[in-house]
Subunit: 333 residues, 2 copies
């Protein structure tokens, strides 16, 4: 295992200490229990947006805490759900009296623990709504999931909901927006290599030198099929066809196209992927109005990519363009 | 070779087509010869800042083109210097009448080709100043370099000089700032794995499963030594000690700390590195006033990190904080 870490059992804590040291202008970090919160939280009278999940997907979610996006993120151990007490503590810490939205990726552990935390928060008088993201079209059920997995759309939902909350929208509207983003977004990913969970010390799965996994999950869960390596154009054709046909995205649709790196993929390759996606969508009459190209929801050092498409309307464009000031996304401020 | 590409010989062109498709709001791309320029270039009356070098280091340099940073970037083939005609064409395209600064990393081919282009531009009546960055403390000479290699400081110089040019500083001052950043900046890197140049199809060098290369160059050039794997804290101690002792950075100094990923290193590890660097510098009495954590000067899919420290003063802080709107760095707009 080749990683820039100290002891495997210290990775998450040390990462959080690094985030705290680097970004104290924007976030504060609790180490007991683990959560990252806006430096100015709780923002009185504003809906708070909270997410979380296993670590190893950075910058998601801790890197998306700040003005215009998340109020708090709860990182579990690597690829492990955060515990109810973490989520409860974060929820209480950022509650500003206008309710809290939990954005939860569809993994069984995440759902259970967020539900438990929401129940406890409600007992404390905090209004909580939860929205589950499940945008991954690759497989119906998966290793840690009943139903579709929540992946790239989560990043987009966090941005959109954060902007709405910042603008003063009430909890019901922010939650409705989250459902809207999830309903209009679809994703699919692939891997060229496995990743290695620090505590495991060996690759999560094995892939031959001439193989790739199509439809991979962000924890290395099996996808649709293992295939011979193909070109970037062929890979994009497979991912984008599946995504577009699923919603379906139709000619005339406006979309945000998100080309994501899995952690070990350099930007030069992501632009080759973006080029192919741009051509594919032009061929389908789908217009890219906004885009995001980079590694925003990762799987440790996995090499690979995922594509997320979000059907846009004027409201979503406006919220996407709104100012954001987080370690992972920043503009307009 | 596992990469998200089509034919190796098309990687750079297709990457540029991807950049053009993704970022037409901010940049325009010339494919013959290759260069990336600000969408609104030439900006009349403003000093233009131009850089370039081999591809494979993305987002450097093409990702740093835009308001407040570079006016143009000239990408060569992967790990190959751009040609004089590229640099000349870019220089002419962005010249707004106030002169052009060439920021050149210290590699023999880059130096020669930028010099030739500068001579030709001067014949065309364009005032050109060139500043060479050579911040890598690892080795004195290297595979493609007489003297020290130019690495991470280049990113910081491009930001600072771009801000000064945007603010209307004359060419002599922008060039002087570039020399100041280079003089006050030092870097060193290391690799856990090699990278593979697409056209070569096999790793540039071999590293054992328990080995790392300390002082690696951004093209995989040999560093100071090959060592047994060590912890992140130990690696930072080696890199940071060498950097700090070189300038030297002294107790009371204010710095920008730049923890860079080499392309295949996930963000979670970079924060573990940042934590260690923060502690190291506190121990030396050096205050981190600004930071940059992410993969900004990469070596294809190499796993590893580099650290750059830049000694700050109020002028540099102000220019660092100034608005920037490029695909790779964006704030304040």
């Amino acid at each position: 295992m080749k990683k820039l870490i100290n002891r495997p059992e210290d990775v998450v804590r040390e990462e959080l200490e690094g985030i705290a040291a680097a970004h104290s202008d924007r976030v504060r970090v609790s180490l007991d229990p683990y959560y990252v919160m806006r430096a100015d939280a709780p923002v009185q009278g504003k809906v708070a947006v909270v997410s979380g999940g296993g670590s190893g997907h950075e910058p998601m979610h801790g890197g998306f805490v700040g003005m215009g996006m998340l109020d708090a993120a709860c990182p579990g151990e690597v690829f492990t759900s955060p515990t109810p007490d973490q989520i409860l503590a974060a929820t209480k810490a950022v509650s500003g009296g206008a309710g809290v939205l939990h954005i939860v990726k569809n993994y069984t552990g995440d759902i259970l623990n967020f539900e438990m935390a929401a129940d406890l928060a409600k007992e404390d008088g905090i209004q909580v709504e939860a929205v589950v993201t499940n945008d991954d079209v690759a497989v119906q059920d998966s290793l840690y999931t009943a139903g579709r997995r929540g992946v790239g759309v989560t990043v987009l939902a966090e941005k959109v909901c954060g902007a709405a909350a910042e603008a003063g929208s009430p909890l019901s509207e922010v939650a409705e927006l989250c459902r809207k983003v999830n309903a209009n977004g679809r994703s699919m990913g692939m891997a060229l290599t496995s990743c290695t969970v620090p505590a495991a010390g060996k690759p999560t799965f094995e892939l031959g030198e001439d193989e790739m996994e199509i439809g991979i999950g962000i924890h290395g869960e099996p996808g649709r099929e293992r295939r011979k390596l193909a070109t970037a154009d062929e890979i994009v054709e497979v991912l984008a066809t599946t995504i577009v046909d699923d919603l379906p995205f139709k000619s005339g649709d406006r979309v945000l196209a998100f080309v994501n790196g899995m952690g070990g993929t350099p930007l030069i390759e992501l632009y080759v992927v973006y080029r192919a996606l741009d051509r594919f969508l032009k061929g389908r009459g789908v217009a890219i109005e906004r885009n995001l190209v980079g590694s925003y929801i990762t799987s440790l050092e996995m090499a690979g990519t995922s594509i997320t498409l979000l059907r846009l309307d004027d409201e979503l464009v406006r919220l996407w363009d709104a100012p954001v000031n987080t370690p992972g996304l920043r503009w307009g401020v």
